[in-house]
Amino acid sequence: MAVLEQQSDLLQQFALGDLAAFETLFRQHQADVYRWSVRIVRDPAAAEDLTIETFWRIYRAHARFDFTRSFGAWARRVATNAALDHLKTARPEVALIQDFPARDAADAAVRRDIRERTQQAFRRLPAKLQVVATLALIEEQPYKEIADALGISIGAVKLRVFRATRQLRKNLKQLGVEP
């Protein structure tokens, strides 16, 4: 009970603009925000920058924070929006290049070719479909969590997954990749 009260006081202090409360919340949630961001953008350095950007947005919006609600859920939603903005402007080739190391030298060229074409097909998706496809298809996060993070319904998540898959199939076909 005392812990809950402490946390509630902390959130109240943060909402009032207290820097020490913000620091405590930052230290409590930075790892979660980073983990979530790196899953979406798949680039550790960019995820660090996005963690800072997320908390900057949180700090700026402290007066609008409803301290009766979950800080973690709010932080995740802000992080998702920051990652979405990043994907809209990021250069596609940089982020994914190290994801798929060739294990067998004999078919390394073929693997590299498929990898590059698949990444290209993926990066042709609109950013909001990329986010959903990454979280649902690659990271296999529950639809409920994705919906909360994006501030949309579970039905809308399912629809975006469907659209992303359909678009990806089309892009792969255009690039000559048969899944």
Binding site: V38, T51, W56, D99, R115, Q119, F122, E140
Partner: protein, 71 residues
Amino acid sequence: MNKEDEKIQSLLKQVMPPLERELDRDLWPHMLRQLEARVLTVPWFDWALVALLVVALLMSPHTIPVLLYHL
């Protein structure tokens, strides 16, 4: 999810495997530097608004008392 979709998911996971990366350093010092830097920075549109206000006041000085009254 049908077979075709499963194949696409499988290909994606092969090319871009799930990432379980942990933060290996405390970002607070970096955050603090950012806070200091950004708080001190005045956005360009704020300067533009100030410039606009100054020009408006110079063009119609009779509005100065009205502005002061509302401040």
